[in-house]
């Protein structure tokens, strides 16, 4: 299966491990991801906070390139996913606005590219059975709290699942890899996202709630699909422990890293060593259960 692929800024830097694990997992499952040539930033939070036309134009430039390559564009970062999907909706629903966007990007784009998150491709196109058949090293009951954050399920019109208040797509994929997802109530709560640097106190407060609840729900680790969720819960966990005076020690994996381990891929290929909270103990537990 071939798809065009939008990596986005974070996957080239802070979330390099999300990129390498995505590419490795895709290859292991026979999916070819062709990076969009000359892709540029989707505009992320600051563009839509400043001007609606700018936000849609920055995203639509990439969609117009993708249109020439094929019907589907695969995205991993939930923020990029959200901006690209929002741009599609904006140009498809308003002809006059579509005209303004065409003027801004120098070509007409009608919203025709299907923007899809990697989770959707795994669930809909590959299928749970195929994933399950490809597992060589089961995650053996590893207790995972699947954390979706905001932008994979909100707003409703852009949700990758039919039930935005209780998504289960990540749970089902990781179950197929042998993991045992825990039931927990904070899976679509917000981590504070782009306030990481400009209002760190908020991110630490929200992060503490999320990490504590994951632990209380019996999770060994958290799985995420967003570079900002990952960094807010992993990179800031030591600071959160300090202000909460509580030891948490919960590794925060990209879901592609956990799936990759189950597919028998190496730690190096999955960028496991880039995680900040040491995941070795949790991974040993899973391995020794086999």
């Amino acid at each position: 299966m071939n798809y065009s692929f939008f990596p986005g800024c974070s996957l080239e830097a802070t979330a390099r491990d999300f990129l390498v694990s995505t590419v490795a997992v895709a290859e292991a499952l026979g999916v070819r991801l062709q990076p969009l040539p000359d892709w540029t930033c989707c505009g992320s939070t600051p563009a839509h906070a400043s001007d609606g036309l700018l936000a849609v134009a920055l995203a639509a430039r990439n969609l117009a390139i993708a249109e020439q390559l094929g019907p589907d564009l695969v995205v991993c970062c939930s923020s990029c996913y959200s901006r690209l999907a929002a741009a599609n909706q904006a140009v498809a629903s308003d002809a006059e606005f579509r005209g303004s966007v065409a003027e801004a990007i120098g070509r007409d784009y009608n919203g025709g590219v299907r923007v899809r998150h990697l989770l959707q491709v795994l669930w809909e196109d590959i299928g749970l059975e195929e994933i399950s058949d490809s597992i060589v090293k089961s995650l053996n009951g590893l207790k995972v709290a699947c954390y979706y954050g905001c932008l994979l399920t909100r707003p409703k019109e852009q949700s990758i699942v039919s039930d935005p208040e209780d998504p289960r797509i990540m749970e089902e994929i990781l179950s197929a890899a042998g993991a045992e997802p825990v039931e927990w109530p904070y899976k679509t709560d917000c981590c504070g996202a782009s306030f990481s640097i400009s209002r760190t106190s908020t991110v630490e407060r929200l992060g503490a709630q999320i990490l504590r609840m994951a632990k209380r729900s019996g999770a060994d680790c958290i799985a995420v699909a967003c570079p900002l969720c990952q960094s807010n819960l992993d990179l800031r966990q030591a600071d959160i422990e300090k202000s909460a005076v509580e030891r948490l020690g919960i590794p925060v994996f990209y879901f592609t890293q956990l799936l990759g381990i189950a597919l028998g891929l190496s730690r190096e290929a999955l960028g496991i060593d880039r995680l900040v909270v040491d995941p070795r103990k949790v991974l040993r537990k899973s391995a020794s259960a086999s």
Partner: protein, 187 residues
């Protein structure tokens, strides 16, 4: 939080100017408060979402543009997703931010400065140059030491790149910024 709104006269022009076609559905708000009970920032903000919507309809421009609330929205989309009337509060807040010159205090203004520096990074490089963005932000806010201790680890783990990226599409991005600005939109 102030629980009473002081209004002398209703100015309908403000809401009409922000949302001429009624796309944000502000006037359908039932004041049920579902948005506010789920708001990520409900414990920190100064105006809750359902109240903010009503203040726009009342035309309380000055209070809104001087609020922390419009900067403290983290764009999590919880309010609009749960709203029974589909009032698009996050989009409303984006429009209010574009009208406000800056946030009311230094601490909240950091959010505005960060957004602006990130946008500049995108305009210049075609994507976000994280290390450069953090440096610029720290110089502008004089928040020099926060997270400094994490930098060596982040560089070692390859989470930050020292040099700015060179994306081929950066000129196309700069051109988009220029055209949108010429259309009289971005400040």
């Amino acid at each position: 939080m102030n629980n009473t709104a002081q209004i002398k006269a209703i100015n309908r022009d403000f809401a009409a100017g922000l949302d001429p076609e009624g796309k944000l559905r502000l006037s359908t708000c039932l004041q049920c408060g579902k948005c506010s009970s789920g708001c990520t920032m409900r414990l920190e903000t100064d105006i809750l979402p359902h109240r903010l919507n009503r203040m726009v309809l009342f035309g309380m421009e000055k209070d809104l543009l001087a609020s922390k609330a419009i900067w403290m929205c983290v764009s999590c989309q919880t309010c609009v997703s749960r709203c029974p009337m589909k009032v698009d509060t996050p989009a409303l807040i984006d429009k209010l931010r574009a009208l406000a010159p800056k946030a009311p205090d230094q601490e909240t203004d950091r959010i505005r400065i960060f957004n602006r520096e990130m946008l500049k990074s995108i305009r210049r490089f075609g994507c976000v140059y994280e290390l450069g963005l953090i440096g610029k932000y720290k110089m502008r806010t004089l928040d020099l030491f926060g997270d400094l201790a994490k930098l060596p680890m982040m560089l070692r783990k390859g989470k930050l790149k020292l040099l700015p990226p060179k994306r081929n599409g950066r000129k196309a991005v700069a051109a988009i910024f220029k055209r949108v600005r010429n259309a009289g939109r971005v400040k």
